[in-house]
Symmetry: C2
Subunit: 408 residues, 2 copies
């Protein structure tokens, strides 16, 4: 049997000193770990980063699924940042690192003496990356943030929801992972630049600012109309039907399928009309021409719905999609976990953790045909001896001494 | 006056041959252009890529805002891909390029003779990147996709919406831009690797697969409960109030603010109770202890709402946020465009295009304090002579000849 996933090894030899926690910071370093970097989490000896106990895990007292999913493929060392010797140790590691990442509350890292000025002076090659809730210079610069705060203040919620109803928080964690992906891009660009300049850069992203990158469609609509995009209306003009989700058999909460006719391709309608048993409308200009079809929106949507209600969402997607009409079943995690090709293609893998298993998505880009292979998230301090040995040349005895002294 | 934005120049000298269109492909190359790569769009001489006319632009007949926002900082050349000489020209460009990007319908690029095998043989250093709707090996491999199809089939819609109501498409274009960001990460990782290996890689991402990266929170919940996450319930357990949006003065469609008390920090409640005029509850264990406060959810939410209704969302965010309680106004594009620090910080810039202006967000990561500066999107074929000169050594006369022959 051929493995469905590989170690892409793009970042072999890159050392990342990771003081980040929860999701926005850890997702930026997790993808780098999956692409081959050595990512070392620096954690509090007393319990580690707070994400370790956010919700439950495979068994009582074990690391939470939350931690497992956002920290795969990383290493962990413990350091007591309240001890001057512990701080000195982090500085020694920063001298050996290529990248430093943190997302503590505003001002915290500087108070620890681990700010850009200090670490850049110690290691001019170091790429120094910070994730905060709000940007430097923003009126909210000192405020705390979490995913939902970024999704509210970054514009996502205002454009998500049903027509005429209240704003909705998008389910995907764009405030966190969406921000983390932009930081990963920036770290990689700085690493590439460093191959010629030899110098690191200071990178900063704010969760609020990051959201603007994902709602540029709303800025397009604003430019067109001079007003914010109305909730439930995403297109650039009146919607050409069908362009919505339709209820499917047997009527459960996620038994819906999206059916879309691009307004640039009249073939979509021709094909769909035949599928839904209305071939006489396929070439009828009243329905074929998009501007005329808009006037028949209610009727067209009712026709499509009459057909989708007779099929499951998977049938709807299979039949309509195969005919060359854009269609997507509203899949939930049960559907995704049950679709065998995700596993066969390596997109969903099982993390084999000492505490138990976790079926989870990997970074979903394939390198020469295969996506990155998931390795388990680290136990707290699992790699302390190994990393202090390889990064700092310490013996096992040195490490034991630091542990006995409460430094690590 | 100091410029609020800079050219980060991380990718100076990197040549990207961009055959992508619409949003998922173009966003992956736009960020690389903003980070300093030379991105050359190859477009049909008759009208260019279809995104140029998607919706309206600054004036009739000009490029659409849609095109302007997703193609800033790029160059454009025209090539007729139906002409054998045109195809040969693209192959000549591929020999000079570092990265090739395309997101045509499944099979199209291979039929053109510009597949991985051909281009890799011509230029083993070339990084070859493809964005498709569904993954190779998926039952939907040959299906078309658009943002809403990816958001349905990739799991986003199932977890977005109000409790007990139908699935909602998130407003942010995660199906497109979300996918583009993951491809940008992968291209950069492959570029970095190539500095030591000298060899390019084949990169493939599917829009459906990409969504799984952004809904890992739902996979955590699935692992915990064995079932899909219920719409409108994102946390890892019963929600500790307040953890929702609350209506604000004067009651317009986006006059809401998110107020959140982390279940790990009792200080949030203490601070909030004082702000909303209920200091006597700040230390009352019935309200202070999170598990007890859950039993008072309706009462707590009503208290918060009674206070938020007396203030605008901006006042709510300012007052509650300044007190150290996570809070975010539901900002729409009017709010974001009106907040002066976005412009001062360079996060929102004005694209100065020959056809008119467009206020838009840039890639929101700051490099040494400043985000990338936006340059206009290219006019169709604006850089044909320049690029064919610098990449292929052609004279202006050569280029004119190709134009006269209908090759470009």
């Amino acid at each position: 049997m051929t493995e469905a996933a590989v170690a892409p090894n793009c970042l072999a030899g890159v050392r990342i000193l990771d003081l980040s926690q929860f999701e926005a910071g850890p997702t930026s370093t997790e993808v780098l770990a999956q692409l081959g970097a050595e990512v070392v989490k620096v954690e509090n000896p007393k319990g580690g980063e707070p994400g370790r106990i956010l919700g439950t895990g495979p068994k009582p007292g074990a690391d939470a699924y939350y931690f497992m999913i956002y920290n795969a493929n990383k290493k962990s060392v413990t350091v007591n940042l309240k001890s001057p010797r512990g701080l000195a140790l982090v500085k020694d590691m920063a001298k050996q690192a290529d990248v430093f990442v943190e997302n503590m509350a505003p001002g915290t890292i500087e108070k620890l003496g681990l700010g850009w000025d200090e670490l850049h002076a110690l290691n001019p090659r170091l790429i120094y990356a910070q994730v905060k809730g709000f940007g430097e210079g923003s009126p909210y610069e000192h405020n705390l943030s979490f995913d939902m705060i970024a999704q509210a203040a970054g514009g996502n919620m205002a454009i998500t929801g049903e027509v005429g109803r209240k704003p909705i928080r998008p389910g995907p964690t764009l405030g966190d992972t969406g921000t983390g992906m932009l930081m990963a891009i920036s770290i990689l660009a700085a690493l590439y630049q460093r191959t010629t300049t030899g110098t690191g850069r200071r990178l900063q992203v704010a969760m609020q600012d990051a959201q603007l990158n994902y709602i540029r469609g709303a800025f397009i609509n604003h430019a067109r109309t001079g007003e914010p995009q109305e909730r439930g209306r995403a297109g650039f003009g009146p919607p050409v039907p069908p362009n919505d989700i339709f209820p499917c058999k047997p009527g459960g909460p996620n038994d819906w399928a999206y059916v879309f006719n691009s307004h640039n391709n009249p073939e979509h309608w021709r094909r769909l009309a035949r599928i839904i048993g209305r071939p006489e409308l396929a070439d009828d200009p009243e329905y074929l021409e998009r501007d005329k079809r808009i006037a028949h929106s209610d009727e067209v949507n009712a026709m499509v719905e009459a057909w989708t209600r007779q099929h499951t969402k998977h049938e709807v997607m299979r039949i309509i999609g195969a005919a060359g009409v854009p269609c997507g079943a509203v899949m939930d995690t049960s559907d995704l976990l049950a679709e065998p090709t995700f596993e066969a293609r390596g997109i969903i893998q099982t993390q084999q953790h000492p505490s138990g298993e976790l079926r989870m998505p990997t970074f979903p880009v394939r390198f020469d045909g295969k996506p990155p292979k998931i390795a388990p998230s680290p136990l707290l301090g699992e790699h302390t001896t190994e990393v202090f040995g390889s990064w700092l040349g310490m013996s096992e005895r040195d490490v034991k001494g630091l542990k006995d002294d409460g430094v690590i």
